[in-house]
Amino acid sequence: MQLEAAPRGSRLRTRLGAAACLLLASSAAHAQAPDSTANTLEASTLLYGENKRTNVLEPAARFTHLFGGGQILSAELGLDVMTGATPTGARASNQVQTVTSASGSTSTSGTEIPTAHFKDARGVFDLGLQTPLGRLLRAEAGAHVSREKDYRSLGGTARLSADLFQRLVTVSAGGGYDDDGVFPVGGTPEGLTIDRGVVRYDVQPKRVETATVGISRILTRRWMVSLDASRTRERGYLTEPYKIVTIVTSEEGIPVATVTEKRPATRVRRSLLGSSVYHLEKDILYLTYRYYWDDWGLRSHTADARYRIELPAETFLQPHVRFYTQSAADLFTFGLRDDQPLPPYASSDQRLGPLRSVTLGATVGFRVPSQPGRFTLRAEWIHQWGRVGTAGGIQSGPPVDLFPPLEIGTLVAGYSVGF
């Protein structure tokens, strides 16, 4: 009867406190389940615009059904409509250039980056099922299919997660497989050839295998951290069929010709993602850091912070800031010199170049009084710029901006309603 005799001391309180926190933390998620509705419909529209370049309109609708046994079924239908201009990869110079490509043609004068106009649409259908297996295991499976004018994708994912140590730790492992096909308008050009070389008209296969593992841990009632690792192997046609590389004279750096780009047939990508979610009194702070590296020599760091401020009347405001920096892939070049043999691979795609970007944005979520459902509005501004001279720059010729800054704006309007 005398507790003093029991060799427990204050550990009892610690254990009870932890058990209480765990119960409250886990119940916060499911306690509302009896009141919440079985069906949720979410609709959103994304508007994406780059200055003088791509514009994307992306409406999407997602339906989720919660079954009595805890299974969750979701289906999503999306459409992307893209118009605008995309950089061809050709180098900016002081010379007037004319560049043709299968997707359109353009002429660029002055020192602007050559671009090609395009218009494309993409349809996506995504189906997911999540089911508990007993009390501590969860299985998820998903399938998706997408189609656009010159690309199709069919894939599936599976994931298993387990709660351990009284649900304080969750571990998960999963995998995915995509079977894609590329069939460029006007055929697939031979890589690194002038005038597109030999063109093939069959579908170029691309296969993507992904493996992920993750661990998350509840540290305190308010704080959860997680670490996720992924490895993706891509095989097949990984080249951008419409992108080109400029060949310049070795002395003045004057463009004299363009060749199609060429990339290796395999790419192994790896990433590590660390996240932290901290509940303050009312607000929530989300922090993530991601390190990415692949066997093309590209490395990137992403740091992202979001802060959710709870306002009265079920309104929230969530400012968002992100920094991104990437080093150029080994095959990235601003242009090839005419006095040197062609390398095995080359691309001037800016997405493989030395990039930095900063994103500022905010999301606001609110309800309209006496109306069902919840609205969200998200606006983001992205400023992207290159780091010329750190990779593959040809330091000759008159000064031109090889990698001009890019301004991107996105606006997402969303609505979700349960029934």
Binding site: L3, E4, A6, A19, A20, L311, A313
Partner: protein, 309 residues
Amino acid sequence: MPPARAARPPRPEHEDAPALERVDDYWIGRFTAMASPCEVLVDGDDRDEALAACSAARLEALRIEAKFSRYRDDNIVHRIQHACGRPVEVDAETAGLLDYAARCWTESDGRFDVTSGALRRVWTFDGGDRVPDAASLRHALARVGWRRVSWRPPVLTMPEGMEIDLGGIGKEYAVDRAAGEAAARVRSAFLVNFGGDLIASGPRRGGRPWIVGVDDPERTGTAALYRIELTRGALATSGDARRFVRHGGRRLGHILDPSTGWPVEGAPRSVTVLAATCLEAGTLATLACLMGPSAEAFLREQNVEFRIA
């Protein structure tokens, strides 16, 4: 327990919205749930905000009461009670509470037992002198004991005739959950008090604390023993302030020892514990009472802030 609680008439349970009243510079919403007077104090000026907090807290209290009350025939507790020894699969929230109850049972060497309902029914703590006879005590004790229950989450199998009573942790759990619901809707500091088990979200404007009075066990509802200044955290009181029985010239509180079937002797009249969550505070206060005369030593060992009367 706070001064504002004294001598208020309980309000009908079917009320659609809590009654909101302006007191000094804060709002106070009152309602009845879990057979207790409940109130939510919001330290702000915005009436809509206060109403949103009170309504959310009330709905959560009523939801938990409906789900875990022993006096309904449409909930999980009723299903467990009437399973006649057959296994019952429970939902995640109930499983969480049962996990917690199992942990309390282990930590208290079997003193804290959610299956002691049968025992409780043979005792009447109305301040009188009726004690159960040995036969009915034996009969009740035969139907008490978490060790007789098979708890393999999410499946609970309980011998026929046994009862489960989550009331010992349900109210504190409801306070924490209701505060969570309120916190999602207000930015002002608030305090949730369900029948004396309470939690404060943070200091009042200007850094002022909430002032909580602790009931005098001898003069319930009319006098406060002392005041506690609370800025953040939870406070729960356990004791025999209102429920006791007289036997052999002694006053026995309503905290029963499931090993003997008798009230714990020498327990303090009133134990108030401060902790981060109401669940933790309430469990520690109850465990302290179960320790009888060594309640104070137990609490000291836990390195927890407490008051004993």
